[in-house]
Structures are given as structure tokens and as C-alpha cells.
């Protein structure tokens, strides 16, 4: 030590990490889209793969939770978008359009699901009902090597997806091909078998280690007016079933549809396509009319309502039906009146009408779409059994909900069973407990970009061709980029760029904190766009 020259980089011997009272931790979060998704899709993850043009991997990631993306991408009510943090910057990511795109890509390219194991378990399961819940459950079990037999009462799988959703929203072949892909995992499907009537429940219990009951809510609710029966008076489900199975009823020139849900909208739009002049009577108010009281607004999706109106359907709000007015064995119309209140004193949906506000709405056909119930006939014994022997899922468990809810419920039931049967499967991922609200993001690092929408929907009231096109390739790429990747590192490198202390190191596939040198300034966490980095105090 005789001269003022120091060896290069010799400061490395001094560990400034000792200065630290807090330290950054890289930690994945569970974004609000996934939190809102009834299927529990890891939306951020599959969008990230799509962003990287890893289309097939994105599809595989998506289908870990939802084996019907082409279907759900079309019909889901996408609560993910309502929760999307991007709304704090501009508008939500168009998740459903991208989900549909991945599903369609899989169909176009013939991608097949893969089993996670080559071995089969000794245990077998039976699934009653091949609707979305049953398919979802069967898919998860089959992927893990559990032999599955799927019993379906009708002559084809799909449940409400097949019988309740019109083709202009969900083309038949899309549904059939996605179901075929699920069945290809080796699932045995027995159609036309109604358990409880066609086959004995006890025999089923002997043959299978567990039974998943996913029979849906297939029994339409009836209007309290006993006269609402007879020729020219249908339930929405029946009407849609006839339309969707290729034998639509003849419709008169005027049709009244009673109800404000998606089934009502579907029925109205089908009737319109069959040539009728359609009026919808909805007990609730229109979208946006009752801020803070979503129960008091029409439950059909806003775009469904918009499209229906665009197709020439009249929607009349806050009105209820007193009775059907008959004439010559056919309905002549309905007597309607203004709604006083929607719910009874127990909080059940039971509109009360103002006396003296009655009017007559002429209609040659009246379609009631005012809700569905579970049909437990012949299955009562199973109802009394408990998991794991018997589990109930889908609308059968929750009452009528959404396809996505059903798929999520199938997944949850499968997870519960698999956690018992298959090593390494857990029902709970820690990441899913970590929220990432918009305030945890640094929005300065995102540029406002317009949401990509498909070209204007063409509302054709005359046929059943699909009316909403998918996004084109360029729009898909632009839209995928809009994902903020809430809570999940996307390797922008801000932490690495900004660290004043060379305490963030880049590795081949990630960044790491070198605690020997980190002084705990917190810049990495603050400048992380997506809130992936947490600062943890070391003071106890």
C-alpha cells in the first residue's frame, strides 16, 4: 500500500447490505381478473404467453382451468373485465375476445389436450350430467389419470350450452368440437341415460368410487298465474331447446318474452330470427338506471341487450305480467302493469305490481324466461351423501348461474378429490391469496392504448349465423399487449436499471436481489410497473 491506486471493483468486499432495514421480495400476485374469474383462470399467465406469441402454450395454460375457451370466450359474462386494473388507466383488457381467439386457434390447429400422467388410477368416477360443470370435472379427473364415465340424460353432451344458447351466439360446431377434445382424454360418455330413472343410483355407487352430480337447473320456473300454460305459451328453455335442436316452433307475428336474463334475450332474439315482432317485458330497470343496486337492473349482459335492440326487439322495463289473455285457444296477449317493488319481504325476487297501471300487450305467443330450478327426481338418495363419495356441482349446487361458474365448480370438486387421491395436487395456491389492487401498480410505465374490439357486429335478425366475429390477428396482438401483468414480473428490467447499488442481478430467466448489497432504498418496488416487488421490513 504505497500508492493511491486501488484494485478495480475492490469495493465488492464491503457489504452494504448491512445498512438495510427493509428488503425487496419478488412475489407473484393473483390479479383481479383471475380473482373475479369463476373458472379461476390464470388470465395473466395465458395473456403473457399470448403476448409472447406462444399460442399453444397460452391455450394449454388457459385450459388448465377452463377446457371450453372457444365457448366461454363467446358466451361468458366476463367479470374479469369488470375487475381489470387497466380500467384505472383507460379501459379493461378485452379478455373474452382473446380467450375466444385461443379456443378458435386450438380448433383450427387441432391442438389436443394432454394427460398429465400416463398411468390410470384404480379409482373411478361417475359424472351425472354432461353440461359445463360435468365436463369440467371430467376433464380435470381424466387429465390426472382417473377413469371417468359421463352420464347424460339427453342425446348429446353440452347441457345448457347445447340446449339453451342459440347458434348465432355459439355455433354448434364450436361447442361440439371443444367437447370432443375433452372426451378425447378417454372419457366414456353415455348419452340418453337419466340416472335415477333409466339407471339405479345404488348400482352406480357400487361401480364408482365417487359420483359428481352436475345435473344443472333444467326445470323452468313457472309463472304464479295458473293460466300461463297451454298452447302458445312456452318456457324460454323449451323454446330454445326446440330452436337449438333444429325443430323450431312456428311463431306468430307478435311474441312477448317475459324476463330480463340472458335466456329471455336469447329467446327474444331467436323468435325475432324466426320472423316475429318481439317485445321483452322486464321487471327490472335498464343498465345504469339504479347505481349501486345491480339487482334492480336487467341481468342480461349489456351487449346482449344492445344487440337485441339493434335487431329491432323492444324491451320494456319495470313491467310485470298479471296474466295471459287468451282468445280462441291461443294467447291473445298479456296484461302487464308497472312494477311497484321487485322483492318480497323475505328478499326473494317476487315483483309486486301497481294496481291501476294495467295495459294490454298483444302477442300470439308468450315465452316465460323467469328462472330455472334443479330437478332432483330420482336422485334424492344421492343428495344425502357427502364428499368424497358424492359431490354436487354447477347450477345443481348453486342454483342457476353462469357457464363459467359451473366450470369453476367442476374444477373445485375435481381438485378436492384429486388432493385426496393423487400425490402433489393441492387445492390451494398461495399466490391466489395475494391481491394486487390498481393502487399497487405504477401506471406511469404503461401507455394508454385503445381497447381492440371486433369489427362492428352485424345484427342479422333473419338467420342463425354467428353475429360477433373474432378479432383479427393484428388486433389480437395489440390487445394482448394491453395486459398490465398485474403482480407478475414481465422482465421490463426497471428494478435492474434503477438499482443504485448493483443489488439486482439478472439471471437467464429472472431478476434476483443480492442481499449482500441491497441497502433497502425501495426504488425497485416503487418503480416496478406491475407491483411484483414487495418491501418487507426487517425491523421486528
Amino acid at each position: 500500500m504505497t500508492r493511491l491506486d486501488f484494485a478495480p471493483g475492490s469495493s465488492i468486499a464491503y457489504h452494504t447490505g448491512d445498512w438495510r432495514v427493509q428488503q425487496p421480495v419478488y412475489r407473484d400476485k393473483w390479479p383481479p381478473c383471475s380473482r373475479a374469474c369463476p373458472c379461476g383462470e390464470d388470465i395473466q399467465a395465458w395473456l403473457a404467453l399470448a403476448n409472447d406469441h406462444e399460442w399453444e402454450a397460452a391455450w394449454r395454460k388457459l385450459t388448465e382451468r377452463n377446457p371450453l375457451p372457444a365457448v366461454l370466450g363467446r358466451i361468458c359474462f366476463h367479470p374479469c373485465e369488470g375487475a381489470c386494473n387497466r380500467r384505472a388507466l383507460d379501459t379493461a383488457v378485452n379478455v373474452h375476445a382473446l380467450e375466444r381467439e385461443l379456443g378458435d386457434r386450438a380448433l383450427r390447429n387441432g391442438w389436443r389436450h394432454e394427460r398429465l400422467t400416463a398411468r390410470f388410477t384404480n379409482r373411478k368416477v361417475a359424472v351425472i350430467g354432461a353440461g359445463p360443470a360435468g365436463l369440467s370435472f371430467a376433464f380435470q379427473m381424466a387429465r390426472h389419470g382417473v377413469p371417468v364415465t359421463l352420464f347424460e340424460a339427453t342425446d348429446r353432451p353440452g347441457g345448457t350450452l347445447a340446449s339453451g344458447i342459440p347458434a348465432y351466439r355459439l355455433p354448434r360446431d364450436v361447442l361440439e368440437r371443444e367437447i370432443d377434445a375433452i372426451l378425447d382424454l378417454g372419457i366414456t360418455l353415455q348419452t340418453g341415460v337419466r340416472i335415477g330413472t333409466d339407471r339405479d343410483v345404488d348400482c352406480l355407487r357400487e361401480s364408482f368410487d365417487a359420483i359428481f352430480l352436475a345435473i344443472g337447473a333444467q326445470r323452468p320456473r313457472r309463472h304464479p298465474d295458473g293460466g300461463a300454460e297451454g298452447a302458445g305459451i312456452l318456457t324460454g328453455l323449451d323454446f330454445l331447446h326446440q330452436v337449438n335442436t333444429g325443430s323450431p316452433p312456428a311463431v306468430p307475428s307478435r311474441v312477448a318474452v317475459i324476463g330480463g336474463g340472458n335466456t329471455a334475450m336469447d329467446a327474444a332474439r331467436c323468435a325475432r330470427r324466426l320472423g316475429a315482432d318481439v317485445t321483452v317485458i322486464c321487471a327490472q330497470g335498464p343498465h345504469g338506471s339504479q347505481p349501486g343496486h345491480p339487482d334492480a337492473e336487467i341481468t342480461a349482459l349489456p351487449e346482449e341487450v344492445r344487440q337485441a335492440e339493434a335487431e329491432g326487439i323492444r324491451i320494456r322495463y319495470r313491467l310485470g305480467v298479471r296474466r295471459v289473455v287468451h282468445g280462441g285457444g291461443q294467447p291473445a296477449g298479456v296484461e302487464i302493469a308497472r312494477v311497484d317493488r321487485l322483492h318480497d319481504l323475505e328478499g326473494r325476487f317476487h315483483p309486486r305490481l301497481f294496481a291501476g297501471t294495467e295495459e294490454f300487450l298483444p302477442a300470439g305467443m308468450v315465452i316465460f324466461a323467469i328462472g330455472q330450478e334443479v330437478d332432483w327426481r330420482g336422485l334424492d338418495t344421492l343428495k344425502t351423501l357427502s364428499p368424497p363419495e358424492v359431490m354436487v356441482g354447477g347450477d345443481a349446487a348453486s342454483g342457476p348461474r353462469f357457464a363459467a361458474t359451473a366450470i369453476g365448480s367442476g374444477f373445485q370438486a375435481a381438485s378436492t378429490l384429486l388432493a385426496r387421491w393423487v400425490e402433489g395436487v393441492t387445492t390451494h395456491a398461495e399466490r391466489e391469496s395475494r391481491e394486487i389492487p390498481a393502487q399497487a401498480l405504477n401506471l406511469a410505465y404503461y401507455r394508454p392504448e385503445p381497447r381492440q374490439e371486433p369489427p362492428a357486429s352485424f345484427a342479422s335478425p333473419n338467420d342463425f349465423r354467428e353475429i360477433v366475429p373474432g378479432l383479427d390477428a393484428a388486433a389480437v396482438e395489440k390487445e394482448a399487449v394491453r395486459c398490465l401483468s398485474c403482480g407478475v414480473c414481465f422482465h421490463c428490467g426497471n428494478c435492474w436499471n434503477f438499482c443504485p447499488d448493483a443489488a439486482i442481478l439478472r439471471r437467464e430467466d429472472r431478476f434476483t436481489v443480492d442481499t449482500d448489497y441491497c441497502k433497502g432504498c425501495g426504488i425497485c418496488a416503487r418503480e416496478c410497473p406491475c407491483g411484483h416487488i414487495d418491501m418487507e421490513s426487517l425491523l421486528t
Binding site: G9, T16, N51, C499, A503, R506, D516, I523
Partner: protein, 327 residues
């Protein structure tokens, strides 16, 4: 040697003793890793020199020399002359603080530029003498509280204005002079790359917030620098031969309060009528910059977008492997 990171040279290695959240350390790491290790670095006395060479330990992994406070530009001129004498094109880079640039080092800087030395002079501007405990410098903005411009019964912080050193440098009609800041990394990256592509004297003024002297939370260093730009108080511009050729356009101008309220050095301004008057003065100064450089005019020739958009898989800005030194 600091060889921990295979993707970054870490010209300025770990183990240096800057304060947590130091904007100058951040700026220097950015600039030097963009320039790389194939260069000779000259330091003026100042925080950067002190915290990087301490107790016989150096954080520099490049040939680096510090002489005295005022002479960095002249030492660099001598190095460049020696390199030129033997036909060696190794880049020469000066790193100085605002004291070593605006004040005590201005004469040597002027001489270096006037003689046309092929040197890149980088000023890390933290707007004060922070190394000696936060005294005002020629770079300290108007109305700032420092230990030598304390607010009191008669005064509201620094009485004078921030020296426009870019204009002074630009008056030498040098090939390239620019302002940048740690907050706008890609802009800084572009400017360093551009500076490296030009021969002759070049000048880069990099705004580098000082959590100690500016009295802001350590984690807000980047945010404060970003706001300095977005309020118009620190325009990001490029001069070529003294003429502005590009400015970073602002989508909208933030009010100066957004910037001031994050920093203790301006806190006294919010506590009195006199202070609020000075806030209006600072707003007027910002507005003058905006008008002078046309910061709100997207159609101004040479307008560049003020974006810090984070790109997926960008992996930061330095994917340059470190070169092993010989023996």
C-alpha cells in the same frame, strides 16, 4: 472484481457507499454501463468520487482517475491528447457533479470544449453541494432550502436562479449537448449512444435527485426526477452546435406543486404567503421553459415522445457481457 452479473458490466460495482436511493449512483451506473468498460473515466471531486473510492476500495472496474475538484475536464483533455498522440481512440469520459461543472469546474470545462477535445463530459446534476452537507450551488434552483440558503424571516430559500449551464455550454457551439434524467431511461440511453457516436467535445447533463439534499423519500428518486421533467422545470433537450434539435414533448404539463410537495427542500414554500408567491415564480419559470422549447407542441420539429413505457421482456438496457480484464 464484481463479476456477479453476467448481463451487465457493472462498471460501477457494488459495495460503494452512496446513500440508499442515491440518484447520482443510479445515474452513474446507467451512464457507465451504457458506455462500457472500454473507456477511460475521469472524476471530479464530489459525492460520486467519495462514495466509490473509500478506504483503499474502489467500486470502479475501469481505468479511472480522480485528481482534484476543478480540473476533471483538463485531466481528461490531457488523457485525450496523450491518446491522440499515439492514435488511440479509447473514449474519454468525465463524470462530475454540478459543483464540478457549473461552478468550480466551469473554466476547465470551457477550455476543454473550446479546444475541441474528444471527451464526453457527463454532469450528474443534483443541484447542490451534497457531499459537504447540502450547500447551495450555481445549479440549485430558485427558492430551494439549503444550509447556505436557509429560509428565514427575510428569505424564502435561494434568492438566485438555477444557472443555465446548457446554454453556456451550447454557446461554445460544440457538436452535442443534451439534458437527460434517470427517470427517462430510454431517452438517456439514446442520448448516451448518440454522444458516443460523435467525435469532439460532448456534454450530458443528467438530473440525479439526492434524497438527502432534496429531502425526499429514498424510494421516490425516480418519481421526483420524472416530475421535474413533467412539470417543465427540467426540459429534456438536445443541442447540436448550440441549436436545439430535439426536445422531449410533454403530453401535458403537471403543476409544479406536484413536484415541490414531494421534497422537503421546498416545504417552507407551502407555509407562508411569501412562499406561495415563490411557488408561482417557480411555475412561471417552468412555463418559460415550456414556451422556450415548445415542450407542449407535438408538431415541433424534433419533438420526441415522453414515454417511460415498460416493455415486456425488455430485460433492462444493458445486455452487454462484461469483458474480463487481462491479468
Amino acid at each position: 472484481m464484481d463479476t456477479r452479473d453476467p448481463f451487465r458490466e457493472n462498471v460501477l460495482a457494488a459495495g460503494h457507499r452512496a446513500c440508499a436511493g442515491c440518484g447520482e449512483a443510479m445515474a452513474a451506473r446507467m451512464v457507465t454501463d451504457l458506455i462500457g468498460s472500454e473507456a477511460i473515466y475521469v472524476a471530479a471531486t464530489g459525492c460520486l468520487q467519495v462514495f466509490t473510492t473509500h478506504n483503499a476500495q474502489s467500486a470502479w472496474q475501469v481505468p479511472w482517475i480522480h485528481s482534484v475538484f476543478a480540473n476533471a475536464a483538463a485531466v481528461a483533455a490531457g488523457i485525450e491528447a496523450a491518446l491522440r498522440a499515439r492514435g488511440d481512440n479509447t473514449p474519454v469520459v468525465v463524470q462530475a457533479g454540478d459543483g464540478g461543472t457549473f461552478d468550480i469546474g466551469l473554466q476547465c470545462l470551457s477550455g476543454m470544449i473550446e479546444r475541441g477535445h474528444d471527451v464526453l463530459f457527463v454532469c450528474y446534476d443534483n443541484e447542490g453541494y451534497m457531499n459537504t452537507g447540502v450547500q447551495r450551488s450555481g445549479s440549485t434552483p430558485h427558492a430551494v432550502r439549503t444550509t447556505t440558503s436557509p429560509p428565514g424571516r427575510l428569505r424564502a430559500g435561494k434568492r438566485h436562479l438555477k444557472k443555465d449551464v446548457l446554454a453556456i455550454v451550447g454557446a461554445h457551439h460544440l457538436p452535442y449537448a443534451a439534458t437527460a434524467t434517470v427517470a427517462f431511461f430510454s431517452d438517456l440511453q439514446d442520448k448516451v449512444k448518440k454522444a458516443l457516436s460523435i467525435r469532439g467535445p460532448r456534454f450530458l447533463q443528467v438530473l440525479a435527485p439526492c434524497p438527502l439534499g432534496w429531502d425526499h423519500a429514498a424510494e421516490r428518486t425516480v418519481e421526483v426526477a420524472r416530475l421535474a421533467v413533467e412539470t417543465g422545470l427540467f426540459p429534456l433537450v438536445e443541442l447540436e452546435y448550440g441549436t436545439p434539435t430535439s426536445v422531449m414533448h410533454l403530453a401535458r404539463q403537471r403543476p409544479v406543486e406536484d413536484y415541490l410537495e414531494l421534497q422537503g427542500r421546498f416545504r417552507h414554500l407551502f407555509a407562508s404567503d411569501r412562499g406561495r408567491e415563490e411557488i408561482r415564480h417557480l411555475q412561471a419559470l417552468a412555463d418559460t421553459h415550456v414556451a422556450h422549447y415548445g415542450l407542449l407542441d407535438p408538431d415541433r420539429p424534433g419533438a420526441t415522445e415522453a414515454s417511460v413505457a415498460a416493455r415486456r421482456h425488455a430485460w433492462g438496457g444493458y445486455a452487454r457481457p462484461r469483458r474480463e480484464p487481462s491479468s
